[in-house]
């Protein structure tokens, strides 16, 4: 008979404490400093899956949990600038995927006005695929504003980094995942770190239901299912 688990699984939202720093410790520290009340702007850039969105979400979460004001928009959702309505000038505003804004006159203007709206604090946290000099930004006054604070490059995790990340994130859930197990997961599951981490939630439930540890045979059986 199979045991049905109670839904007591630990949630694992993006926070500063579960961010795998690796080569991106400086970005982590700078984002945290901003979230804790530091002045901005801060601009993080790097390839997909290097953890930019995680840091933005962690910063917004930290501020919101502390009762502060924060906003979070993505360049992919231009209609959502309105969600920043009513934010006070000292709010933390995170703008993800700035590369989607570059080259679009209306969106560039919106981002420019964002800078002018949140003076003098400018607690603005940006993430993009490229640095301000390489993005096809038309407005020079916007490009220089984006580059007016620390511009920090983030590196994507290597395969072995991903192994460490998985082991660590499993640990956050109270799961004991060996590096071999993590490598197996990475070879069979999705390659994107976020999706692999999401797999952990399913594994967590399955392990609880089967009262099993995350051994290789268990992982193999799980993937077969």
């Amino acid at each position: 008979m199979r045991q049905l688990p109670l839904d007591l699984s630990l949630k694992d939202p993006p926070t500063f404490s579960n961010f795998w720093r690796g080569p991106n410790g400086e970005s982590w520290a700078a984002a945290r400093r901003l979230a804790e009340g530091g002045a901005g702007p801060l601009y993080l850039w790097g390839p997909d899956q290097c953890g930019k969105t995680h840091l933005l979400a962690a910063a917004a979460r930290l501020v919101a949990e502390g009762g502060g004001s924060c906003g979070y928009v993505s360049g992919e959702e231009p209609a959502l600038w309105g969600s920043l309505a009513g934010l006070p000038a000292d709010a933390l505003v995170c703008v993800d995927r700035c590369e989607c804004i570059a080259g679009n006159p209306d969106q560039e203007r919106a981002l420019f006005v964002l800078f002018e709206t949140f003076v003098p604090h400018r607690r603005l946290l940006f993430a993009a695929s490229g640095n301000p000099s390489t993005l096809p930004i038309v407005r020079e006054d916007l490009r220089t504003r984006l580059a007016s604070g620390p511009v920090i490059h983030m590196a994507a995790p290597t395969h072995e980094d991903l192994v460490s990340i998985l082991v660590e994130r499993a640990g956050h859930r109270g799961l004991e995942l060996t590096p071999e197990g993590a490598r197996y997961l990475l070879s069979r599951g999705p390659r994107e770190p976020r999706l692999v981490i999401e797999e952990l939630a399913g594994l967590d439930r399955a392990a609880l239901a089967g009262r099993r540890r995350l051994t290789l045979p268990f992982l193999r059986a799980w993937f077969k299912q």
Binding site: K11, P13, A29, G82, S83, L114, E140
Partner: protein, 458 residues
């Protein structure tokens, strides 16, 4: 990812589903702060499929937050408003749909809406003359701004400051405003970016509040209007500004204007406005020279409580030339590194922390790029720069290109000579010395060199 709520919710057949969600929204708007509602609930889009309510969140962050913080309440409210008939499941997922929006979808706006944010007209108190660094490139503009701050509405009215981006036009303009207020605290001084002026005017027209708009601007003691070039092509705004401008000047109240170019160079701005812009004092701000850039870095570091070593200040200032904003960005990057690593600020740390920035600039400025630009600038062929020709038409551009290559790249003298038709390193030295002399003696060469340098480093 979906979240299925386990507790069944009943639906009332007499209430339409969009109305149920609308009621939920009204209630949530009452219960939450405007900021919370606008940040987390307003972006949600609702879609009904039989008894299944799908809430689309714009991104993962919003989705997670809604699930964590508001699902329980949404669940309670849908249950309450459905009258206990029929089970309903609620799902939050990422995406959009074409159906009913959660709330009236905010249209793509040229500006984020701001209700309780920085009010129009508030000056940034950080922009003062004390925090401004004077150099050759801005001393006239600074003196004029100070004069205006001390004696508003006098001879320098309007004061028109122009120059490239990130050179401190806004800083000087606001420093004048802050100085004025420090002498006369009751003065009504308003700073507005020209794009904001246009947007506010459009809003005022839409809401039949144009008289209040006019009254606000025409009752000021000083109006500081930034980046006026954005008025180009906006005839209605120009018209309104023209009358505001006249009203203020007639009342001997101060107007300070900034732009990225000289008034006569405006395209799409009415002639009468252009001539008004130039009727007071027009001053320019140039990119700061090396010594000023160093002074800026040292002063900004001091403001952060850090003593920046001279060699590091020169290292950064030599490499970031085009504008002050990016210079500050480089400094903040360096300070962030020092803070993170706990290491002292020295040349090693500066080289490491700024390596991305410097590598990018070096990639941009190559001998080949310099040759192409110089050839284009002087309307000669790139090949002429490497030819044996000694005509003045070719020699001067060649000497300038060599000097720029020496200044802007890390190539050795023999390497530079090789790229210019296999010339000897002594030819490059001669070219650099000649350019140095010409910069002091010949204003035209000096202007050409400045222009080329600006294009290459911006």
């Amino acid at each position: 990812m979906t979240l299925d709520l386990r507790s069944p919710i009943k639906i009332c057949a007499t209430v339409s589903q969009p109305v149920i969600w609308k009621k939920c929204l009204d209630r949530l708007e009452e219960e939450l702060s405007a900021q919370q509602f606008n940040t987390w609930i307003r972006p949600l889009q609702a879609e009904w499929n039989k008894n299944h309510l799908r809430l689309y969140a714009p991104n993962r962050f919003v989705m997670d937050w809604v699930k964590d913080r508001f699902m329980e309440r949404i669940n309670e409210l849908t249950e309450q408003y459905q009258g206990g008939l029929g089970p309903v499941t609620v799902t939050v997922l990422i995406g959009t749909h074409n159906g009913t929006a959660a709330t009236e979808q905010v249209k793509i706006s040229a500006q984020p809406v701001r209700r309780n944010q920085t009010p129009v007209g508030r000056l940034n108190p950080q922009f003062t003359f004390d925090t401004h660094v004077e150099g050759k490139s801005n001393q006239l503009a600074r003196a004029a701004a100070r004069q205006v701050g001390e004696n508003p509405g006098g001879a320098y009215n309007p004061l028109f400051i122009y120059g490239g981006v990130g050179l401190g036009k806004t800083h000087l303009m606001q420093a004048a405003g802050n100085l004025l207020i420090s002498h006369k605290p009751e003065a009504r001084v308003s700073y507005v970016h020209s794009e904001r002026f246009v947007q506010d005017m459009v809003k005022a027209l839409q809401h039949n509040a144009i008289n209040e708009f006019k009254k606000h601007y025409r009752s000021l003691d000083a109006l500081l209007i930034d980046d006026i070039q954005f008025f180009a092509g906006k005839e209605r705004s120009q018209e309104e500004f023209f009358h505001t401008f006249n009203a203020l000047l007639e009342g001997q109240r101060q107007v300070i204007i900034t732009a990225d170019r000289f008034p006569k160079e405006f395209v799409g701005v009415e002639e009468r406005l252009v001539s008004r812009f130039g009727s007071g004092l027009t001053v320019s701000i140039e990119p700061p020279e090396l010594e000023t850039r160093v002074a800026i870095l040292i002063k900004k570091a001091e403001q952060e409580g850090v003593a920046l070593p001279d060699d590091v200040a020169f290292f950064v200032a030599k490499r970031v030339r085009s504008n002050v904003r990016e210079l500050e960005g480089a400094l903040r990057r360096l300070l962030a590194s020092a803070n993170f690593t706990g290491r002292p600020i020295d040349m090693t740390l500066a080289t490491e922390s700024l390596k991305d920035l410097l590598a990018f600039q070096e990639r941009l400025v190559t001998i080949s790029n310099i040759q192409k630009l110089v050839a284009e600038y002087y309307k000669i062929r790139v090949g002429d720069l490497s030819s044996k020709s000694r005509s003045r038409q070719v020699t001067r551009p060649r000497q300038l290109a060599m000097a720029l290559a020496k200044e802007l790249t890390h190539h050795s003298l023999p390497e530079i000579g090789k790229e210019f038709g296999g010339r000897d390193h002594s030819t490059v030295i001669h070219a650099c010395r000649k350019v140095e002399e010409l910069l002091k003696e010949d204003p035209r060469i000096s202007e050409d060199y400045g222009n080329l340098m600006r294009i290459l480093t911006t």
